[in-house]
Structures are given as structure tokens and as C-alpha cells.
Symmetry: C2
Subunit: 257 residues, 2 copies
């Protein structure tokens, strides 16, 4: 793909990990890192995107294309206005990764076969868009192009709301009088796995996608209350109907759209 790779991380520990990989030159200064690059990929947390764009600006060569990997796109599109006018930005969001953060959890197959959103505005240089498409495709991603607003609505439904729900469930379960770790099985482990994600990353994501995430949480509260009402009323018919609707929807997740 690239003739050469250069990396920067704000964390000294991650810089050392990256040096130990031995595949890229590692920089302590972001502007120095991007100097002479054709393509720059920003992977800092979403609430630091603007600061990162400002930090790299002095080093960017005219025409260098910038993309990112942030979990929200509308807010980052606004932040990208801080880039020099000579540097096109094309937002990207690879749907990959896990609850373990940091360079130490790197994987060469991370993006293979996974959906990667691109959110072009339609007004960018076609060559810049082509370069960003090529980059993510060469990592094995399955591209899906949409606008930033639609992207944010989609990822709220399938990622940000489930994350908040897993956290809410973990908080609720830990305060139940019957909570005992020895008896915990795959059910609770799986339903709460993503709640182990690093909170600083997720605070930025949820606040940058606040409207859709809050709307989904409100629906979760309403649906939980419906189930509870059926249980409290000993209403087997309503409870069966709700659980069946959820079962069918869950089974459909495993079928092609």
C-alpha cells in the first residue's frame, strides 16, 4: 500500500509499543509525523479530533488527504473545518475493534470483511475520495457510503445504544441483593461484555451522538417498563408477545438483510 509508514501517539507507552512492532517510524510530534505524507489517518478519540486536526495542520503538505476512524461522523466533519483548505477530509468509520484499547491489542486482520462507513459530503475532490476508498479496501473492509447524519443515526441504533444499555444493565445487576459473582454464566457475561470498554472513549462518542443515543435509551426504558408491567400484572399473554417479538428480531440479526 504505502511506500512508508509514520505513526504518532500521545502516549509514550503506545509509542514504545509501536516502535517495538518495527513497521513504522514513530514520532513524538504530530506535525512532524505527517510531514510529506500523501494520506493521514486520524484515530484519536472523537472528542480530541479537533485538537488533533489543529496539531497536524502545520505539517500537512498541500493536497495531503486526511481520513479518520471515529465512531461519530457529523461532529468530526465540523471539526475537520480546522484543517487547511488545501487538505481534503473524508470521514471513515471502520466497524471493528473491541473493548480492549491501545496499540498492544493491534491485529493485522482487524478490518478484514468488516463494514467500513465512508461519509463523503459530495463536494470533496474525487481523487481524495478515491484514495480513502482504496486505503480502507486494501485493509479488507467492506465499504458503505452514506452521509454523516445518517451514519450517526445507524451507529446509535447498533452500537451506541447497546453500549449504554450494557452499562445500565451492569449497574443495575451489581446493586441487586442477589448478585453473586460465583454463579455468573455466559448470559450476563455476553449481555454486558461491551460495558468493559474504556469510558473516556465512550463519553466522547455518546456526547457527540447525544440526540440519537438518548432517544434509544428512552426507548429502552419504555420497553423495559412494558416487560415489567406485564410481569407485575402476571399478564402471560403480553409478556409472551413481547418476548416473542424480541426473539424473532434477534434471530433475524443472523439472517442476511
Amino acid at each position: 500500500m504505502a511506500g512508508s509508514l509514520a505513526c504518532w501517539s500521545r502516549s509514550a507507552g503506545s509509542r514504545q509499543t509501536l516502535k517495538d512492532f518495527g513497521v513504522a517510524e514513530v514520532f513524538e510530534d504530530p506535525a512532524e509525523c505527517v510531514r510529506g505524507a500523501d494520506l493521514v489517518i486520524i484515530t484519536t478519540p472523537v472528542d480530541t479530533a479537533e485538537a488533533t486536526f489543529l496539531a497536524i495542520a502545520p505539517g500537512l503538505a498541500p493536497g495531503a488527504v486526511v481520513t479518520d476512524a471515529g465512531s461519530v461522523k457529523a461532529a468530526i466533519l465540523v471539526a475537520a473545518r480546522r484543517l487547511p483548505a488545501a487538505n481534503p477530509f473524508v470521514g471513515a468509520h471502520p466497524m471493528a475493534g473491541g473493548e480492549k484499547a491501545g496499540a498492544a491489542h493491534a491485529s493485522a486482520q482487524l478490518f478484514e470483511g468488516r463494514v467500513c462507513f465512508l461519509t463523503p459530503t459530495g463536494s470533496e475532490d474525487p481523487q481524495a475520495l478515491a484514495a480513502v476508498r482504496r486505503f480502507w479496501q486494501e485493509l479488507g473492509s467492506v465499504l458503505h457510503e452514506t452521509d454523516a447524519a445518517k451514519h450517526d443515526e445507524i451507529v446509535a441504533a447498533i452500537s451506541h445504544v447497546p453500549h449504554a444499555a450494557a452499562s445500565a444493565l451492569m449497574l443495575a445487576v451489581m446493586e441487586q441483593p442477589g448478585f453473586r459473582r460465583f454463579a455468573v454464566g455466559a448470559g450476563l457475561r455476553d449481555t454486558t461484555r461491551i460495558a468493559a470498554g474504556e469510558e473516556n472513549l465512550w463519553v466522547g462518542i455518546m456526547l457527540a451522538n447525544a440526540r440519537h443515543t438518548a432517544a434509544g435509551l428512552r426507548d429502552l426504558e419504555r420497553r423495559a417498563a412494558e416487560l415489567r408491567a406485564a410481569i407485575e400484572a402476571n399478564d402471560a399473554g403480553s409478556l409472551r408477545r413481547l418476548l416473542a417479538e424480541a426473539r424473532i428480531a434477534r434471530q433475524n440479526l443472523d439472517r442476511p438483510e
Copy 2:
């Protein structure tokens, strides 16, 4: 373990599957099935326990010990009063299985290393309790003895509330305007996996453990509302504190108690 095995299922399909396994005699009548047995294991859904106890009663030999595998214990202890006085009952709940129901999903290693609750009342024949202990231990279960009320409180926290939460999340997600199946990843799949469970089984469980399950759902609603309030108020501090508390609790699930 046993000199011989006899099975009954109300479903003709499951009876055929059991016949095809070729390890047990398969009966069409529950009273005929238990005739001459030393130990009888009831694994019908919890809301049919009473009917099953009544159905086997005519065939039970005096002294034959009865146990079960139901996910609630207080309600089944009440139902077990329908057994003849000469037949001791010791409630059991092996914490194993999955969202796929039926004999076709049988596994010889299902109970290996998994917690199995026993809920003796303290007034049963010690030999009956010993026989039930031996049965579950020989399947590889790790026994945990407690009373039926405490058992129901524990499993509400670690199983019944998470199941209802997974169903509520699936119902909420499917109605979000941004819900698109093509982009769904491991996060939503794992948080909702148990919602694929068979609703007829879970209606019985949740209604038989209504008080604890409803209390947990109420706490889920409250915790989701707290997260939502922090998001709506753009309150990074409160949101970070809640997500961090959930992360730590989730990470602790993977540590020994």
C-alpha cells in the same frame, strides 16, 4: 451411574430424537416412564411443573426421589407438594444450557464444571438429598446449596433480569430509525444473544420469579435514565463516572470472587 434410563417428553419430535440417541427407553406416558425408578428428574418448563408432578404421581414407587432442573425454586417447591408423601423432592437448578431448546441440542458435557444449585428445605430425608447430590456431581456440576428464596433472588440478578434486559434492548433497537442489519457487529449480537431464547420457557420463569425480576427491571430503567440524563445535559463528568463504575463491575465479573 444408573442401571437403566427411561425418558418421557410431551413432544413426539423430541421422543423420536431421544429414541435415535439409543441410550434410554422412551415412553409416551409420564407415569409409565417413572414406574420402578429410584430417581426421577423433571425438566419440563417451570410453569408445567405442577402438571408434571401430578402426571407422574400414579407411577412413582414409594421412596423414589424426585429432583428437577427448573430456573426458579420457590414456586416449584410449592408445586412439589402435589407429589405423594412417600416421594421426597429436592430442587435443583443446573446453570447450563443456552438459547437453543430441545433434545436435538443435547450435549454430554453440558453440566461439566457448571454451577448447580440445590435447594434442600432441611426437612427432607438425608438419603434423598445425598442421592440428588450424587446425581448432579456425577454429571460434573459444581454444587451450591442454598434455600429456594435466596436461589430465586440470585438467579433474578444474574439471569432473569439480564434476559429481560436483552429482550428490552432488542425491542428498542429494532424500532430505531437508524437500525440496519448489514452494519450489526459483535456488540449488538452479544448484548442480545439470550433474547433469542424460547418465549414460552421464559414467560414461565419470569412470572414465577416476578418480584425479583420486576425489581431488577425497575433498576435497569433507573440506570438507563441516569445515563440518558447525563447525555442530555452534556455532563461528561457524570457520564464518565457511570461508565467507569459499569466498566469496573464488568471487569470484576472475570475475576474470582
